[in-house]
Subunit: 859 residues, 2 copies
């Protein structure tokens, strides 16, 4: 026989999956001798059994419930529905707390008879008020009758004396009869079973399902039901009820933090009609209870070794605990509590590291709006929280206009349908970016995260006109210069300007990061293309650059024209001329980066994107270009059309460019080694890592490696230098992963480009997937967006094949990841597990990556 | 010590890789007692050693050569450069015959002295003619002096008497001295070593390298050098030289086939100044030699058990063999010879099957131009031989115009920059298709091969004007109605009309196919979407349909409008209405196919391509559509733009459509099962296989499988039928292959879609790869185009993973391939090896596939 029911005495805090969070907490408190009213828990297994049994409580389960109820009656000396009536609360308690579910029914066991007994034994006003509460709650959560039908009646009676309360109860019962065609159940056990059923049913109500979907909670956990003897906080001024945290959940400050109401039941605190008092005032009103309370919280925290979130009731000067659980906290509080507790000797460093959720600290790293100022602002629209942070400014629809505005001292928000590499400069200058299309991994989102710049993407509420002169939200039209604010952390667009505050990192933060550094095995590098990005990366403790994308260097207006000239060149000679002009720029870029990063490793990826990304699209730009290269516009357009691709993602890019136009890569390599020589002249030693993108065949790599080595040696010989350098490859084409043993023969390092690897392995274009990804999440085709977190089953299997077969050839080969996933905690755990040497992520995610890496090492 | 040199007596026919083809043939003939002049072979190893040794003949090798030369002198009683002068020929002989390489030097050993001795011993005219030939050949192939410099001199002397020949020789020596600043070498050994060097060098001359690249011959095989005592066919009318085949290489007819010249040396046959005579005439001119010749060819064929290609010389009535090798033959001859030889008891069926190159029989299956008529026609341009066959007709640049023209009785050639699914109808009606862009696997190429329709793709010589009204080849402009012919087998475009002849299959062909059917294990199905395709497939012996693409069914003009209406529908209700109109069409299609194929299996793939492929692109078409659906053109354009994708290949298609618009798949499934019921009413039993495309996640398949099963059961219940059917999936997304063990839990069969699997695994868009694939072939990044033959190292590894992990869950799961590779012999071998159950290919490739499958089974 399956055990479905447990008395509180039978459980403990480890039994959360069976007893639910609340049940396990009650059992544990009972176990360590804290004052908890008696009761029992119907387990989560019982809930699943209910569903398996066609939504019926089996005879077997019923027998167990009756038996435990009978024990409870014996313990309390009272009987449910009897002469000495036992009143109970019925509360749900899932393994993971779920606000969408039915919560609580109090005072269960009252009926027309027992209420009279209760009135006699205590206070009639209290008794009938309790009965009226029961009917109202029961009607709401069990019978599904709308609340306002009761509120209307209750409000009609000004004075809540016994006479009126009796009338209210009668009218409430009338509502129940009218709405359900059945009287309010007088049989106390029937009340209880109906309540248990209602809790079970609430596991699958719409809100609960949605909540689980959003929070990735499995559907087959079920909820437990806690049946517990009532204690009353509303029996007078020596009674009360409240909630408290053992430390401040917002700041992490040590000391009890909470609020309570005297002469009230739990729902009164929630309802917000009376304003609760700060917990510290309890010392005055009920000093001995306060002392007891402080003792209890001390015991609880010492026992759980973590900050607790407590519900309590005081009945006639006696404290009862109704719930304890690990308290939710802000990132700031999480870090402070973890560090403080180590200093207090409560936990060790490992525990402290494990206790901070890496993703949560993201909010500490970006500028933010205060909750208060957001509360006052008007929300206009909601999109995807593509890159956290906060930004306010004037709207511009054009990247160049953004730049102009910013250079003339304004703060600008770039608004586009979607962004393209041409918009880079505008993105650099903008405070934030808003796009109406695109997903979490669209161009705007990826680049913005890389820059640590606030971005809201895929904001479908915003309609940007096709000529990019205005945007419409609902019926309101916004033009250039109108002011908005973006909360990139929440994905909300606000009207007007909201002031922002810069992130400042606390001492505790630095302490925790230092501990993480001690524990982790994975190195953490940054994806950084510019000195600016690299400086931020260093500030956050980057241990090198894992991905320096050289293409971004060409989008600067002073260079893009030469880049375009190079692309349009019909003869190699013309192309070489244009490349000669570009080389000094690249050399300067590399010089700056090398100098800044000193002896830290830098992986430079040679040109990757298809050439058409650099070409202009508007007639105006094309005409400027045509003038410059002295060709007819038609010829330029023809060439642009010629370079267009059906599937650019799978087209002429990466090393395919290097193979068809070796002179481009040669120029880049010359620029790198001239910069190396310049710095060696200044006494520094640089050991660049040169990375070939989009390799699928060993021969591609060997051709490009030869080109790199020969070009490098030419420069080094000319300048009479030597230099140690390595040539490696991205693993981003599935074939490269599958044939890694072959490719390892040529590669000196591997760097997983999981963005493209995911696109190709899944056959998902991230630019296009927004059209169906919503349905995919709905249908739970995948648990988590594979562009957010490495798809370990599919892409991950490929990565493992690559690591193992690559290392089968070169046991100590350096391997890392430089895709977006390199900054995502679950993916970092995976990278640790398969034995990568480092992860590389956007500068703003470096602390997150370090923490996640430490947790992975400690797991 | 490595053995570099072999006397003919030391070798045999198995030693081809060491002795080269020619050397092994000479050795074998010597071994079986045929009349072969004495000599020795310097091995291919020696050639590679020469390159390893900085292009020098090592002392060791030289010693061996000297020793074998000395043996030859002993055997012949003559001395190289001596008083009784030994004259030799020096010929290259690679493992695989290579026309690009240096071939032959004759009469080596002649110099100013030995020529006088030869003149004395034989005929001075013959002797000096031989000397002049030596100088000329030596100058050409060893010294690299242009031929015309000698021809000019030779032609100046009308009469070729001794006096003149002496003068010619002097002048020839003068040319050598002038051109090389050195006299013609008088030392016979020096002549020999220079000739050996020249053969070694010719292994890496430009033509040889190009030839190897084109024919996929490895670069490290090297060539052998054969040194052989001269025999002379030019010593009078009882001498001669010729080439012959033991059977007719064109028709396969049994009986010697060849030609010869009396009083001539080999080069005279090649030069074509005198017209050779048919071998049968030898019986008259030299009856006893002819008899000997027939005996020799009989011996050779019986010994080699295959048709031989022979070179021979008759010296003063004595026959000598100078070469034997397996003769090249047409497909027709190959089949006839193989089948005849089985009947003659020479070889067994297995050998016969192994002896016919599957790809070669392609030419038998399509209509063709005769060589004669092609010879008379003017070639205009050359493109990729995308789909074999021959076609003549009037040019049309528009698919609709093609249809009109054909319906009014014309023959039409569709000419496009590239084709799209909208052009299907035009392609169906056209005799052939010519595109200026796209590769061997472009839309035009794939569809044309599927239809068995002649197609030349990627013909860059043709410039189609952007408004599709004319095409320019060189400076000539072609407009609608101009006539051209296409040779799809060779990729050549001809001017004007060339008559074609239909393919007719010989009795021997059918016999060979029947033998192949006995031996093969792989089943062979066809990719066929229509009753027309399926009939051809049946004619060629298809054992079912492995891929029925349902999308092609929508492109018919009577349906495309409802399809477009469906796509443009804003509400599900409108979409359902349009789908209701489409259903009867689909039902009719399936009914026809099921009825035709009877009890053979049919795999139906539900809708796969992105919806935008069905939408119109020209303003005219859009306007028609707008009128029909009563919407402004702007709205239609907006919707079309909205459906456009950045990377359609990785976008909203396949089962992603089924998940977002389940009503589309529902309609298709209803049509299938209504057709099944219709036929069951007629007494047939149909067991359809329903295939879900583009699955990457198990859940996608399980969602779609549920939809299929539920919809099917609804139809079957309504119509009171039962039906056995299966639901399986394409394996075309790398993730599906990697997680095949998971997917096998839902799939009842797998079908590898290697086109898409290749694109995704390699990150190659086949529509875009033409921009760099040329360089890739040049650089030997891959040995063979991965879209032509399965990339076994990369894609193949994925396929193996999928087969093994799929079968680890379901040991007997049916697995096949339906990508283009299913009709390519090497890929078929691979499919056999990894244990697939069937291949599916275009109807015209079915015999090829059957033969390749038999060969795979026999290997």
């Amino acid at each position: 026989m399956v055990k479905f029911v447990y008395a509180f005495e039978e459980g403990n805090k480890e039994m959360k999956s069976e007893l639910g969070g609340k049940g396990a907490g009650l059992a544990e408190m009972k176990k360590i001798g804290l004052p908890v009213p008696d009761g029992f828990t119907i387990s989560t297994k019982a809930c699943m059994n209910y569903y398996e049994n066609n939504k019926k409580i089996s005879e077997d389960m019923k027998e167990q419930i009756e038996s435990y109820l009978s024990d409870l009656e014996t313990k309390t000396g009272k009987t449910l529905g009897g002469k000495n009536p036992l009143l109970v609360s019925v509360r749900s308690g899932a393994v993971i707390s779920m606000p969408g579910m039915m919560d609580t029914i109090l005072n269960l066991g009252l009926n027309d008879e027992t209420v009279e007994i209760l009135a006699e034994n205590s206070d009639p006003v209290f008794a009938f008020d309790a009965y009226r509460r029961l009917i109202q709650m029961f009607a709401d959560v069990v019978l599904g009758i709308e609340k306002y039908k009761f509120d209307k009646i209750y409000q009609r009676f000004k004075e809540k004396n016994v006479v009126n309360l009796r009338k209210i109860v009668e009218e409430f019962k009338g509502v129940v009869l009218k709405e359900t065609r059945s009287p309010f159940p007088q049989d106390a056990k029937e009340q209880m079973y109906q309540a248990i059923n209602a809790v079970f049913e609430s596991w699958n109500n719409h809100r609960a399902i949605v909540y689980r979907k959003i929070n990735q909670i499995p559907d087959d956990l079920g909820t437990a039901v806690n049946i517990q003897e009532m204690v009353f906080g509303n029996t007078g001024e020596r009674s009360g009820t409240g909630v408290a945290f053992t430390r401040n959940p917002s700041t992490g400050e040590n000391g009890v933090y909470g609020e309570y109401l005297l002469n009230a039941q739990g729902e009164d605190v929630v309802a917000g009609i009376r304003t609760p008092k700060h917990i510290s005032t309890l010392e005055e009103s009920l000093p001995e209870v306060f002392k007891q309370f402080i003792d209890v919280t001390d015991v609880l925290e010492a026992h759980y070794k973590d900050m607790q979130d407590i519900e309590f009731t005081i009945e006639n000067g006696k404290l009862f605990l109704l719930q304890t659980r690990t308290g939710k906290r802000t990132a700031q509080a999480a870090i402070r509590i973890a560090v403080d507790m180590v200093k207090e000797g409560v936990i060790d460093k490992t525990t402290a590291i494990m206790r901070v959720e890496p993703n949560q600290i993201h909010q500490l790293l970006h500028p933010t709006f205060s909750e208060e100022s957001k509360g006052k602002a008007k929300a206009l629209a909601e999109g995807l929280p593509a890159s956290p942070g906060a930004a306010s400014g004037k709207i511009y629809f054009d990247a160049n206009r953004v730049k102009e505005a910013v250079l003339s001292g304004e703060k600008a928000i770039l608004v586009r349908t979607e962004t393209s590499p041409e918009d880079i400069e505008g993105m650099i200058h903008a405070e934030g970016i808003l796009t109406s299309r695109g997903g979490m991994t669209s161009h705007a989102a990826v680049v913005a995260r890389g820059m640590g710049k606030c971005c809201i993407a895929g904001c479908h509420d915003v309609v940007v006109s096709s000529d990019h002169t205005q945007m419409i939200i609902d019926d309101r039209t916004f033009v250039e210069g109108d002011e908005i604010s973006l909360d990139g952390t929440a994905g909300i667009v606000y009207d007007g300007i909201i002031e922002t505050a810069d992130a400042s990192l606390s001492e505790e933060f630095n302490t925790l990061m230092a501990w993480a550094d001690e524990k982790r095995i994975l190195r953490v590098r940054a994806n950084a293309d510019t000195v600016h990005d690299a400086s931020i990366a260093l500030k956050f403790g980057a241990e090198g650059i894992g991905l320096c994308r050289t293409e971004h260097m060409f989008f600067d207006p002073s260079r893009i024209m030469d880049m375009r000239r190079m692309i349009l060149a019909e003869y190699k000679e013309d192309r070489l001329k244009a490349l000669d002009k570009l080389m000094p720029y690249q050399q300067k870029d590399f010089y700056g980066l090398f100098k800044l990063m000193k002896n830290l490793p830098i992986t430079i990826r040679l040109l990757d994107p298809p050439l058409h990304e650099f070409l202009p699209h508007t007639d105006e730009e094309i005409s400027v270009l045509a003038d410059m290269v002295k060709k007819p516009m038609g010829a330029i357009k023809e060439r642009i059309k010629n370079l267009e691709e059906v599937n650019p993602m799978l087209g002429h890019r990466g090393c395919r460019l290097g193979i068809t136009y070796p002179e481009i890569y040669e120029m880049q390599v010359k620029a790198i080694f001239n910069a190396v020589c310049d710095l060696q002249d200044e006494g520094m030693t640089i050991e660049p890592e040169i990375m070939i993108p989009l390799v699928g065949f060993t021969k591609e790599l060997s051709l490009m490696k030869t080109l790199v080595i020969e070009t490098a040696h030419k420069v080094l010989e000319e300048r009479n230098h030597t230099c140690t350098f390595t040539v490696g490859t991205m693993i981003e084409v599935p074939r490269a992963a599958l044939t890694a043993d072959e490719i390892a023969k040529e590669a000196e390092f591997f760097s997983f480009g999981t963005n493209d690897l995911t696109q190709m392995t899944l056959g998902f274009s991230r630019d296009d997937s927004s059209k169906f990804i919503h349905e995919y999440v709905n249908h739970k085709v995948f648990d988590v967006d594979p562009f957010e977190s490495v798809d370990q089953t599919g892409v991950g299997r490929l990565m493992e094949i690559a690591v193992n077969s690559g290392r089968s050839f070169k046991a100590d080969m350096k391997m890392g990841i430089c895709g977006e996933h390199g900054g995502e905690p679950n993916s970092i755990h995976f990278c640790h597990k398969i034995g990568l040497n480092y992860v590389s992520c956007s500068p703003y995610r470096i602390p997150i990556a370090k923490l996640a890496a430490a947790q992975a090492a400690l797991k």
